[in-house]
Amino acid sequence: MNGFGAFFSKEIVQTLRSFRLLIVVGIFILLGLMNAPMAKFTPQILELAGVGELTGAMGLAEPTALDAWMQFFGNVAQMGILAILLICGAALSGEKSKGTLVLPLTKGLGRAGVILAKYLVATLLWALGMLVAALVSWALTLAIFPGENFPNLVFSIAMLWLFGQFLLSLIPLSSVLFKGSMSGLIIPGAILFILLILTSFPDLFFWNPALLATGGANILMEAKEPLDYLVAGIVSLVTIVGAPLVAILVFRKTSL
């Protein structure tokens, strides 16, 4: 892993100067801000839109903190994961196709160092994004719906984080296997597509990591137990560690 430190420092400076850090923080603050107000005002919005009349005498249930967290899981699982994939997806494939790795590699930089530095930065960005979104959402939910607590909230959020990390771990492999500046998104995109289809059969494909994305909401609603997601969690963890290692082995045999 020659030159890992130098390459990691370069990645950090690049993340700052290309405004990637700012963009991640900005997007995830927004994703955190939307949830509680959306939950609070959805009944009024629906009423204004005339939906209230359709529901007739039943009316709409009074919104709760649970609705705010449902919004959180919906928003972050979709827009948050999409954003982090787009922001981190071209980090390695872009450099590969542009040729900027040639000089450092011919200086003696190890290929493992390249993969690990980029993976570490993506991991940090995703963790930071999740933390920012969760903290903002938590603060606003507490302000708008005071007094409601969920014992499994942190665990539920961690499940969503794990699924995002699972997808990020596929980027290095995708980047080294395929050519093109956005090739890092091919495998994560394809896997995400397939796994989302498989979520329609949760009992049959109980190992599906994509179940983790919606699992947090199920646990908060107490429709599922944390242990129901054990196998999906293990599959994700193995991929998170294994896929980048495979990417290193492949990258060492890749002509540049």
Binding site: G3, L103, P104, T106, K253
Partner: protein
Amino acid sequence: MGLLTIDSVSKSFGKLEVLNNLSFAVEEGSVFGFIGRNGSGKTTTMKIIVGLLKADQGDVYINGTKVIFGQTPTNHLIGYLPDVPEFYGFMNAYEYLRFCGKITGMNTTEIDHKSTDLLTLVGLQDSAQRRIKGYSRGMKQRLGIAQALMHNPLLLICDEPTSALDPQGRSEILAILSQVRQRTTVLFSTHILADVERICDTVGVLHNGKLALGGNLEAIKSTHRRDTILFWLDEVDVRLLGLVAQDLQTLPFIERISVAGTVFSADVKSVREDGQKLLAALAARQLTILGYQVQEPSLENLYLDVIS
């Protein structure tokens, strides 16, 4: 064994055979001009040397150590400048050199000292704080040489460093490379023969995947020197030249004679022995000789001979 030894290297891309059992060596302290037309395999050879491409067969040794594809220990001995070097545009030149220095394990004091020295050598000291994304092609090429020399490599490999530059940029790069030869051995690929004649002492011509011609440039020129003598004659004698040529053709030491305007050229068996005789023969025929020159073989002629 030279500083760089290429031993029976072959490489194909699909059905296209680019290198076919290529062997040559670059001796320490030389400036080796690696010549070949576009697509002849110069870049492929260089990429194999720096471990970016895998040879189908054969080995490459740097200072006696075998190059292993995908691994980079021998790269500590090499400074490499690709044909179009790509940098991180968000860095400035000084930051980029510091990044390179750190990768090669230099300490901060060494990095500071060396960066200042190299940026001065390549003439970028005044632009060192500007972001690289605003650099011209020539500036990037100069920064490319600086980064390649950052870790005091034994061998500097430059892939067509002058091809994409304007005449001024070309001249500047050649001047820098001439200076660099005092610090390190240089392997320099090009298809611009004038550049090779200007700075190289050793050449290799790559043709059909093999080294078609190689060795010390002066030695090659002297081996391939044709014994041709050129005479510049007075214009008044031009109309006589045809007759004189026919007449001289009968002399035993003359192999071939040609006339172009006022220039009269003759291939003889030996310049040393026959030059005087020819001079006397022309003088005896009342021709005024304004100039006499033994023709030097140009690299261009040699190159065209070899590849034709």
